[in-house]
């Protein structure tokens, strides 16, 4: 059965490292739901968060193959771990008119979404939350008319725990 997996790949920060990761996934026929990468507090270390929808067996292969890349330091599938804070970020443009404006702003307050821009016809807002909350937010905005949105894809961090080394 195909399930959503969120995988953190910690790699050496080198030119082309993202291409190595995405190339490897494409080469072995895996579809990427989302991929996001940036350097970390250590400029030599780059962290990529991947979301894939695959079977457990396929995910095992993916993690092994990713580990095999010379530049890979660590691969962690955090899907079944609860000591991670996982977030996604969205910017969304929604249609407004005089009748709907206050309703929408009320919803933004409930979600603690931040208003970025407002005009006669549209608002632009941003939200950082877990994926389910973002999905729900989009759902609630739909009836007003969602013009478009961009999502960052998931990214994550371990909770503080003295016993577990931070990755």
């Amino acid at each position: 059965m195909k399930e959503k997996h969120t995988i953190i790949v910690t790699v050496v920060n080198k030119v082309g490292v993202l291409a190595r990761i995405s190339g490897l996934l494409a080469q072995r026929g895996f579809n990427i739901e989302s991929i996001i990468g940036a350097h970390t507090e250590d400029p030599e270390i780059y962290k990529v968060t991947l979301v894939l929808k695959e079977s457990d067996r396929a995910i095992e292969q993916v993690t092994k193959q990713l580990n095999k890349l010379v530049d890979t330091i660590k691969v962690t599938d955090i899907s079944h771990k609860d000591n991670y804070i996982v977030r996604e970020y969205i910017i969304i443009k929604v249609k407004v008119n005089q009748n709907t404006r206050s309703d929408i702003i009320e919803l933004l307050n409930v979600f603690k979404a931040k208003l970025l821009d407002i005009s006669q016809t549209h608002i632009i807002t941003e939200l950082s939350a877990n994926v389910r909350k973002i999905d729900r937010f989009i759902d609630l905005m739909k009836p007003y008319g969602v013009s478009n949105y961009v999502r960052s894809g998931e990214f994550a961090m371990t909770e503080f725990n003295k016993k577990i080394k931070n990755i």
């Binding site: 790699v11 050496v12 291409a19 190339g23 092994k64 193959q65 580990n67 010379v70 530049d71 330091i73």
Partner: protein, 578 residues
């Protein structure tokens, strides 16, 4: 110091003394360094593919890293097949390609191709050097990555301007440090204990070994294990030579063209101990039914191999030599039992065979078998790809590791001649014999001149059946004998549809090229026969000649390789032919 000089010094620090290659605008500075040193032998091949395969053949026999230097653009792309070939067979080679000047990168300059992009999926790792001062570190890493862990090809792309760049303070690394790369070579003792336990309980254990045993130089440990435990053993094509062909408890090669005993043993064993193998589809046939009654233990240095094709009940990640040594120290001896009797009987009752007596023409198997009379244990055999490759795996008497060069994973026609050349160039005193077909030889035939001019002593044996025989065999067995695009005698006069010479008196007499003439035109001695009685004579004359020789044997056109487990079938569903 100039970048080109730094490159030369870096290569010398890696003990490089032999390089195969081909020049071009982007590598003139480094070639100029070779001009002024006698520490490196540079063999100019006639094609970059030849250089890459030669480096591969050199690496297989010398167990050193093979090195190949080519220019940018077409020079670099011509090595692609050689790199992919080395990747699939885990052969350590470093391919250094020139690149357009840094300032022109990404502008589609003359002879520019994105070598790093092109080789990403077919190399173990690759580099584009950006500054001349990085050359020592990157060359050091490239060699370390190529030869450590599971070996493989590494490519290094160097813009030509870096070769001329001056570096004031050159620092050569004394240690290789890679943040993300640290192959695990010691097997987990708990897992090894698990395997010891499983062997103790097993009634029908089977060792299934492959190229990993040769790479880790574990043949002694393997033979000791076989002796001590009497576990019947099968070897993949890549593992041939790690066990002498006539060893006790050794059944032979399993798989599509494997021996019956090896395939039956896989189908019936209750514990399969896989060492340095990757459960290739040419071995497993149908993965669902492969060794279906067996618990599977898988020893491999590459964790990604474990569970990739076949689930492993007992995975052991590490170097085969270390793990087999551990196993030998922990295992008690096991006496021969009914299982040994059964597997030995299978072996006795199902020998590989061919019927030269009742055949008018020369049988290809007969030629290979006859070579056994001339070859020593040290003789190096190279092959191309196709029927002759399978027959040489089956009928040649493999006695030592690193003596059988064959394109196992990629199945590269054209691999044989340059690989044999690389091996002979690395070991000029050893006898090197190439088994090839009339199709394969033509894919890198340009290297004949390289052999002759450099007195590289390769003995070429062409088994000419006028066909691209392996494909023709599939057409014969599974495609209603529609010999589409497989006959090398076919000419413009032939009728549109042809099912082979048996049904067709008009089969053209003319075969081109005339291989003996081609050999002679290249300064290589050429011999030919189509007579059974002359096979021994020609072999003797050719093999004893001092210099490269091409021997062409015109063999039976439609001989098939048997036994055969058709693709996707279970190992015990075997075709035997007549």
């Amino acid at each position: 110091m100039k970048g080109s000089k730094i490159l030369l010094e870096s290569l010398l620090k890696e003990d490089v003394d032999t390089i195969f290659g081909y020049p071009g605008g982007s590598v003139i500075p480094i070639l100029d360094e070779f001009y002024n040193t006698n520490k490196i032998k540079f063999l100019l091949t006639r094609h970059e593919q030849g250089a890459a395969h030669a480096a591969d053949g050199y690496a297989r026999v010398t167990q050193k890293v093979g090195v190949c230097i080519v220019t940018s653009g077409p020079g670099a792309t011509n090595t692609i097949t050689g790199i992919a070939n080395a990747k699939l067979d885990s052969i350590p080679i470093v391919v250094i390609s020139g690149q357009v000047p840094s300032g022109n990168l990404g502008t589609d300059a003359f002879q520019e191709t994105d070598m790093v992009g092109l080789t990403r999926s077919i190399s173990k790792h690759n580099y584009l050097i950006k500054e001349a001062k990085d050359i020592p570190k990157i060359i050091n890493e490239a060699f370390y990555i190529a030869k450590s862990g599971r070996p493989g090809p590494v490519t290094v792309d160097i813009p030509v301007d870096l070769m001329m760049q001056e570096v004031k303070k050159v620092v050569y690394p004394t240690k290789t440090k890679l943040l993300g790369y640290n192959p695990n070579i010691k097997g987990n003792p708990k897992q090894i204990d698990k395997l010891v336990n499983a062997i103790g309980k097993s009634k029908k254990p089977l060792l299934y070994i492959g190229g990993g045993v040769i790479i880790s130089k574990a043949e002694k440990e393997l033979q000791e294990l076989m002796k001590k435990t009497n576990i019947p053993t099968v070897s993949t094509m890549m593992g041939l030579g790690s066990i002498p062909y006539n060893s006790v408890n050794y059944l032979g090669m399993p798989g599509m063209h494997g021996v019956v005993s090896a395939n039956l043993a896989i189908s019936e064993c209750d514990l399969l101990i896989a060492v340095g193998v990757r459960f290739d589809d040419r071995i497993t046939g149908s993965r669902d039914t492969f060794a279906r009654d067996a618990e599977v233990a898988h020893i491999d240095i590459d964790p990604a191999e474990i569970g990739k094709n076949i689930f492993a009940d007992i995975p052991i990640v590490g170097d085969a030599k270390n793990i087999l040594k551990e196993l030998n120290s922990k295992l008690t001896s096991r006496k021969k039992d009914d299982w040994n009797k059964k597997t030995n009987n299978w072996k006795k009752e199902n020998p590989l065979k061919y019927d030269q007596k009742n055949s008018k023409g020369i049988l290809p198997q007969f030629v290979i078998d006859k070579v056994n009379e001339f070859a020593s244990a040290d003789t190096i055999i190279a092959t191309d790809v196709g029927q002759h490759q399978m027959w040489s795996a089956q009928f040649y008497h493999h006695k030592k590791p690193n003596r059988y060069l064959t394109s196992g994973g990629l199945g590269t026609m054209g691999y044989g001649l340059p690989a044999a050349m690389g091996a002979a160039y690395g070991f000029p005193k050893k006898e090197v014999i190439l088994f090839t077909g009339d199709g394969s030889i033509q894919m890198n035939i340009q290297e004949l001149a390289t052999l002759a001019l450099n007195k590289i002593n390769v003995k070429i044996i062409i088994l000419n059946n006028s066909f691209l025989g392996m494909v023709r065999q599939w057409q014969d067995l599974f495609w209603d004998k529609n010999y589409s695009a497989t006959c090398l005698r076919r000419n413009s006069e032939c009728k549109a549809q042809c099912k082979g010479p048996e049904n067709d008196d008009d089969c053209p007499n003319l075969y081109l090229p005339d291989f003996v003439k081609v050999a002679e035109a290249n300064g290589v001695k050429g011999l030919r026969t189509d007579k059974v009685k002359d096979v021994g004579k020609i072999l003797k004359e050719g093999l004893e000649y001092d210099g490269p020789v091409l021997m062409e044997f015109l063999v039976e056109k439609e001989e098939n390789v048997y036994p055969m487990v058709p693709a996707g079938k279970m190992n015990n569903e075997i075709l035997f032919g007549d």
